[in-house]
Symmetry: C2
Subunit: 327 residues, 2 copies
């Protein structure tokens, strides 16, 4: 284990390079960053915090911890229709954190910065007795007034999701040794849990098309409930139409009770959105243009009908667990 560098050396060695492409980050050599949104645009800001032992495990690969932290925020921006521009990061390290762990964490951020086209703008590095904890503020931009809210859904809108649902929650079970599946399926699910794919290419295309949207982080049913609450509508989901990966479909075929994990588990980081029926063709075109599968899974209804998921016979599923609770 290499001796621990000072705070200033850590920043210079591992984090300042992540700021090299952002003129307003001043090489992390000042007290604040500056940013001017493009003409006609406004800022979109979101923040997430993660704690070792709660949101990630000490044994998780540090690059994956970093990438997931960044991607979770990018997912929020994408679901709102915004384009990512930069981020601020706080890191709380223990005296025992190996410098190799920090280096790998920074390397993960660097890889994702290249993939998603944004830069580190600033941050704060502090000491903690443990657990490790991090927070990340992501900044994006969008044409002024165009953020896709949770609140615009209308009864009669189609409900769509991007990608596949349930892999995150099944991946967590797999990582904890609680899922019985072929080894390649376990690996695929764990990979999706550890490193989600924020839909940054698709989300901004939904501006002006989707009435309401958010990303699936707490679980499909819980996040749909957030949308319904803000839009004052109900929802009816056809459980059989919820798109599954091959690995998730195989798990569900073996253990039908996993439908609950799939519908209510968290960590999917797909976009769930509502769009009017006359936008169905445009949604399909946008999905095709983004090379992304987008699936209609149900309809928004009158608020009085509540929120339900029904099976192929139209019978409502009973879901005990409503989604991830942070306490």
């Amino acid at each position: 284990m290499t001796p621990r560098p000072s705070e200033f050396d850590l920043i210079a060695e591992y984090f300042a390079p992540l700021a090299a492409d952002a003129p307003g980050a001043y090489g992390l050599g000042d007290d604040a960053a500056t940013f001017a949104p493009s003409a006609g645009c406004e800022l979109v800001l979101t923040v997430d915090a993660i704690v070792e032992g709660v949101h990630f495990l000490p044994s998780d690969p540090p690059a994956d911890v970093a990438r997931k932290l960044l991607r979770v925020s990018l997912s929020d921006l994408a679901a709102k229709g915004a384009r990512q521009r930069g981020y601020l990061l706080t890191t709380a390290w223990t005296r025992e954190t190996p410098v190799e762990w920090i280096a790998a964490f920074a390397r993960g951020l660097g890889e994702d910065q290249s993939e998603f086209g944004l830069s580190l703008w600033g941050g704060d590095t502090v000491s903690t007795p443990g657990p490790l904890s991090f927070s990340l503020t992501a900044i994006g931009e969008i044409a002024s007034g165009c953020m896709i809210r949770r609140s615009g859904g209308q009864a009669g809108d189609n409900i769509y999701v991007t990608g596949t649902i349930g892999d995150g929650a099944l991946g967590l079970k797999a990582a904890q040794g609680e899922l019985d599946a072929p080894v390649q399926d376990l690996a695929a699910l764990v990979a999706r849990y550890r490193v989600p794919s924020p839909r940054v290419g698709f989300g901004p295309r939904l501006v002006g098309v989707a009435h309401a949207a958010l990303d699936v982080s707490d679980g499909l049913m819980a996040d749909l409930a957030h949308l319904c609450a803000q839009s004052d509508v109900g929802a009816r989901i056809d459980a059989a139409s919820v798109p599954l990966s091959d690995a998730a479909a195989a798990c569900l075929a073996r253990t039908p009770a996993l439908i609950e994990t799939i519908l209510t588990g968290g960590d999917d980081y797909e976009i769930v959105f509502a769009a009017p029926p006359d936008a169905a063709g445009e949604v399909d075109s946008l999905a095709k243009a983004s090379n992304l599968s987008v699936t209609r899974i149900g309809k928004l209804t009158d608020a009085s009908l509540g929120i339900s998921a029904v099976d192929v016979n139209g019978k409502a599923l009973t879901l005990a667990q409503k989604g991830f609770r942070h306490f």
Copy 2:
């Protein structure tokens, strides 16, 4: 002790009211906030993290913990010449954190929001096994291109500080029972340590006047060294001219060795800045207009002369401790 409410109840009860005045916060009912800077302005962003047991004590009043967290960021914005507009907050609570503690923490934020004219725009609430930890991203705005950098200082510039120096570090000693002083002096110093006064009225007036600035958080000599490093200059401080509160002056008179604590201790949250000699009159006028004492304490020099603090006889003081190190 009241039973712990859910995450959503906590937010609705204690934090959503802090967002009521910011239309772009959407009542904390969406996934992101929006903000458009005023015409001709750009955003200035800074973030700080604090950890219980490292940056504050479990016995500290929760409202003061919150107010200091906010004020430390406001101090950064002010030293850069920016005007504060809003902030994002992450909170990591344990299952045992009394709801009364959380309520008092939020109350502290609310009081300071009123005092400083900004709003909560968003955040994230997570669980931790402990210690409590928080991060705060502060967003301000400034005329584009006008942020006061660390890097603009020139040899020959006068060095100034606002307010008084050393109260924060002496206050920490006092809070830890390590300072011998009359009880009213101890109380005054502890109060300054717990709740600093960010110079938000004065900092923005320095735009176009100061060549370089930052706030005194790591300690006067260390922060001056940051300015000198970025500006590629040296500095010579007249120790006797460093402004002291009555309480700090009395401590120093009793224990002359405390000059080291005063010059190198952290947590002052005053602004140290460099301005050319021909701006001396304007600096005095701005200070008067802000009803704030601003004191000339030395001069920037050629880089080759290094950074020194000299006594009344012009003899360099030997300062072992260069300032707060975060590890």
